[in-house]
Amino acid sequence: MLFPTLGFLLFFLVVAAAMVVLGTRFAAKKAVLVVASYYFYAQWDWRFCFLLAGSSIVSYLAGRLIGASAEQRHRRIILGIAVTLHLGLLGVFKYFDFFILSANNLARLLGLEHELPFIEILLPVGISFFTFHGISYITDVYRGDVAVCRNPLDMLLYMSFFPQLVAGPIVRAAYFLPQLERPSTEPIPIAAALLLIAGGLFKKVVIANYLATGLVDPVFAAPTSYGGPDLLLATYGYAVQIYCDFSAYSDMAIALAALLGFRFPANFDQPYRAQRLREFWRRWHISLSTWLRDYLYKPLGGNRYGRLKTYRNLLLTMLLGGIWHGAGWKFVMWGALHGGGLAVERLIEPWLGRRSLTPAGKIVATLIVFHFVCFAWIFFRAEDFAVAWLYVRGLGAGWGDGLQQAGPFMAALIAIGMAGQFTSHALFERVATAFARVPSWGLGAMAGIVVALINALGPEGVAPFIYFRF
């Protein structure tokens, strides 16, 4: 069940009605949200619900056991077992086929006849996200950063809450579990939520979907058939597409949670306006980058053991972040580029200086970072490493051929997507404040008409979100 569909709207209508009927019975509301979340997840494959429930039970029990144990060694063993179980589950579903394929290739190279049976394992949607939720909860309980969750219903809801279940944002236990202790007394920010939904729909249905079908998919499918200008515009197109696709999902998740009375953290903050690569990572998929910082980079030693180890930790963290997206050399390359980029940026920091840049310097810095990120996206998006390499080589050729695939409409979509990176946050706040004065039925009518218009502008059908596959 995808957010921008009529099926989801009807589903949400039932959930919203249940929230009204249940009034102040907070425990019952949470139970309804758990049932709704499992129903939402079962729409992909009901068997995945057992994985989600299993992951929640492991997290809950590990949290209780860690909380009950006074001995540090026991706590560490429980943490190790629980994290291994979570990672094992993720590893089996995400990397098992890759390892079988690699082992068979190696066996063939060595002249061995026996091959391991290949089982095509279906990747459960959102498995990475609920695994990350589980690991962060257990680790935070171990570190004493979050109280042990004693209510199993709260743990089930934390792990399965449908707005963030399949593509994030990754909401930390310390942020979300306190919201489950007592009902929120804050008013529901209806106008801001509707603006996020409308903006998210426009980004996904119009910008991301048209860029995918009209430019990015055909050019990346056969890069040798196109000249440099098309390849360059398709690279910009993919940068805008993946941002609009992924941030749209986050925006809608944040808005849906808000409409149900819950707060979510920000996940994107105009990443392509970054003037440094590290700033890009503070603005892109914030919930994952901070997760990796706290549960991987820092435990590796962070920046505490000298320059060389800091560079190593950066590279390792980014490599693992790359491999998290999938088993393949293209993701390794993507991670290595970002890890290497961050390390080099840190290395030349004394030379760059910490003084603020001139306006021209800021533009140049933004352009450099944007083009570096775009270059790395080529490896991320291409079918495999070999195609990515052909693509990179093609960028330098065929500049006299003009544009075959990238028409003015595609260029306009890229321009609109990029313009969104530089609009002021104050504009969103002003519009949301103005709409907050409109009565709810008026907001509903406006939202319905806007959604109908966006739907008419978009292509037939709804393409799945890119990050569902991770």
């Binding site: 569909t5 920010p189 939520a193 961050l342 706040e429 404040t433 959604v451 109908a452 008419a456 502008l457």
Partner: protein, 111 residues
């Protein structure tokens, strides 16, 4: 991927959960109730039913087989025809045709 520079130098420190709410506090001060959320969802669904009826049949086509699904499909087609008779599908069709023209738009020098 790592927001490294937020890390405090030389301090292992506890994991700092990201606490910046996506919707700023000042926008959360003015708002509504669950009842208003339900009302606006109902009104929004009605507005969609009125102005996006062209997409209803394709959605109901995906509901699968069976007598109930067939009945729903037939209702969706009837509803769309009724909305067309009222002229409510015109904005939808105008936008679809405008977007088709935009997709066909080519650079002047293109073959």
């Amino acid at each position: 991927m790592v927001a490294v520079e937020r890390e405090l130098p030389e301090t292992p420190g506890p994991a700092a959960a990201p606490t910046a709410d996506a919707i700023p506090l000042k926008l959360r001060r003015r708002g509504g109730t669950p009842r208003q959320v339900l009302a606006l969802t109902l009104v929004g669904t009605l507005a969609l039913a009125l102005f996006a009826s062209r997409d209803l049949p394709s959605w109901t086509d995906r509901l699968g087989d069976g007598p109930v699904a067939e009945r729903v499909e037939a209702l969706a087609h009837d509803w769309d025809r009724a909305m067309a008779a009222l002229g409510l599908v015109k904005p939808h069709e105008a936008l679809r045709s405008a977007i088709r023209r935009l997709l066909d738009w080519q650079w002047k020098s293109a073959p």
